[in-house]
Amino acid sequence: MTQLLQTLVDGLTVGSLYALIALGYTMVYGILRFINFAHSDIFALGTHMTITIAAVLGVKAADAAVPAWYIGPAVLVLSMLSCGALGFVIERLAYRPLRNAPRLNVLITAIGVSLFLQNVGQLPMFFGPYPRAIPKLTPDVVLGTLADVNFRLVDAAVIGTAVMLMLALQYLVHSTRLGLAMRAVSFSHRNAALMGINVDRVISITFVIGSMLAAAAGFLYAVRYEGQAKQTADAMWVMLGLKAFVAAVVGGIGNLRGAMLGGLIIGLIEFFGVGYLSSNYRDAYVFAILIVVLLFKPEGILGRATMEKV
């Protein structure tokens, strides 16, 4: 019982991180029909920005004391803003000039941007080529205990923030004029343009929102894994990004609810697989699910059920 409950909590927490990252993949795919490989690097930069911004605000990793309650949200907002700006610049400089180029060119450019971000992030003037210590941003509070499982504030903060951001995105896409424009662009660039929608601007905004969500995931990563964060070119970021991408595909790429559902599914499968089967095949469980879904429902779990694509 203890193990079941603990695994459930961990799976949901990590699953909601995957979901946040998956949203960025799925939004860009929905609008531009290409996989933004640089997305996992924005996530990595989000974690490193969190550490840097926290240090600027006076929270150092060596401090034993927990900072004031408003520091965490402030760091979250600032790192989301900075990564959102970065997403804007990337789209403007790397992807917009290729708007009418074959899709393969854009894909290769995305890989180039990914390598660029990984290695520039490693420069000493930015985050350096070493793991960095993550400061404590949330107090160590146990909210409740059930069957020997501690429900900690950290987990609640991660899940809560992720759910709030996903609800906000859902509202934005389905209940605002901007969301309407995004959905229109995802159906057809040309028709949307004919209706008076500034397509380039909508695409820019999509990138900014996707990058902000990745930055939020990066922040939540830092909150959950106090200890140290590896340098931006480490393979672990790519692996986490890859799992989030699998989540987007499993849920149905291009579909927002699918990305959220896919994230939770992947998180739970990974944790139950490790806990109950064998920890030797951790990544294999995730990719096995991908194969199964691609074999039996290639459009993803929610791929066809809802027709709207973003």
């Binding site: 193990q3 160590d140 900690r152 490790v274």
Partner: protein, 385 residues
């Protein structure tokens, strides 16, 4: 204006110039000048395991500096060239090949991680240049061939040391193991520990694995907690240990964590509360009162302003042992030099007396260190069986 055709010719000419410049660079810059002996070091100077490479390099540099001040080897100055392999095995192959074929290094020092020594070693063996690994403990490393040797003990002994300390000194009978399945060092040491601990009469109640890119160990730790062990043996690198310790304490696992020399790094301070009262086996302690150790610690502190860790001491020893072998060798050809290295007897190193056995491994005592406020401090030393 230049026409399209002219432009193409100019482009080709530019390519030609670049190629010839590159070729010239290879030929001219490569070979060491006649009054210098070039030795190469490859290590993880950047990346997750950067403290391994940087500490080792500091130790080697100190040894080179001392030796050059004392007149060098065979009347020639030693020149050290260090390449960063970024902690990647494929990069290790590239830089070792470069050190030997382009820079013409007489001998190679490196790597710390067994996985990367297992990548670089075969290159040295094939090209006939001796390689001394300062601190790769997996037995397979020196099994590569007669060109590869090491100045540290090997994992069957280190696994025994960890098991003996847990069983006899701490009186713990029920252990769990969490290891990195993707690393030769970690999975080898895990087997050696399990074997030794069972032989002593202990029980390994749970075995869990993680991979190279893993950062989340909560599922494994939850499974381990179910079995209620008295300690967890983690034969991994400090990179993961820091996060494992944090996550274990967050799950109310309060038992001590015990590890091997892969823990040795000042980065343990990143989890100083979580690692308080944990132990690991290592090659040396800076608190050792032997005069060799204290003299080395003093010199190292004067040079770098930091307390040397075990990897720095082993880097220092590997370089000094190499110079000693160069003195004794008939010539600096790969064959003669390897022979001299493999014949080393009772070399007085900082990390103990080093004698190469028939498998080119050093036989030495190990020390057990306890993490106190993020800093390892000496507990006891354990001799080979």
């Amino acid at each position: 204006m230049v026409s399209r055709g002219q432009l193409a010719w100019i482009a080709w000419a530019a390519v030609g110039v670049m190629i010839s410049v590159t070729l010239a660079g290879c030929g001219g810059g490569g070979a060491a000048s006649t009054n210098e002996i070039l030795i190469g070091h490859y290590g993880s100077m950047t990346g997750s395991e950067a403290t391994f490479g940087v500490s080792t390099d500091n130790g080697i540099k100190l040894a080179v500096k001392e030796r050059n001040a004392a007149g060098g080897v065979k009347g020639k100055q030693i020149k050290l060239k260090t390449y960063d392999d970024q902690g990647k095995a494929q990069e290790a192959v590239t830089v070792v090949t470069r050190l030997i074929q382009q820079d013409k290094a007489a001998a190679i020092l490196g790597e710390v991680a067994s996985s990367r020594s297992l990548a670089g070693g075969p290159v040295c063996q094939r090209l006939g240049v001796p390689m001394i690994s300062p601190s790769s403990t997996n037995p397979d490393v020196t099994a590569i061939g007669d060109m590869v040797s090491r100045v540290c003990f090997i994992d069957p002994f280190q696994g025994y040391v960890g098991a003996k300390f847990a069983f006899e000194n701490l009186k713990l009978k029920k252990g769990a193991v969490l290891f990195n399945r993707a690393q030769a060092y970690s999975s080898g040491l895990k087997d050696n520990f399990n074997e030794a601990f069972k032989k002593l009469g202990g029980e390994v109640v749970e075995e869990q694995a993680y991979g190279d890119g893993d950062n989340d160990f909560s599922a494994q730790l939850t499974a381990i907690r179910e079995k209620d062990p008295e300690f967890i043996y983690i034969p991994g690198y400090y990179t993961e240990v820091v996060n494992i310790a944090q996550q274990a304490r967050a799950r109310d696992i309060k038992v001590p964590l015990i590890g091997g020399d892969g823990w040795d790094s000042d980065k343990l301070a990143n989890a100083k509360d979580a690692l308080q009262g944990c132990y690991f086996s290592n090659h040396y302690s800076h608190q050792d009162t032997r005069p060799e150790v204290q003299e080395f610690v003093k010199k190292y502190q004067a040079e770098y302003g930091a307390v040397p860790d075990g990897l720095a001491a082993l880097g220092y020893d590997s370089a000094r042992l190499l110079f000693d072998a160069m003195d004794r060798a008939a010539s600096l050809s790969g064959k003669d030099l390897a022979k001299a290295i493999n014949e080393t007897k009772d070399f007085a190193g900082v990390t103990g007396k080093i004698s190469m056995d028939e498998n080119r491994n050093a036989r030495k005592d190990a020390v057990i260190l306890e993490v106190k406020d993020g800093v390892p401090s000496f507990v006891t030393s354990i001799a080979p069986e």
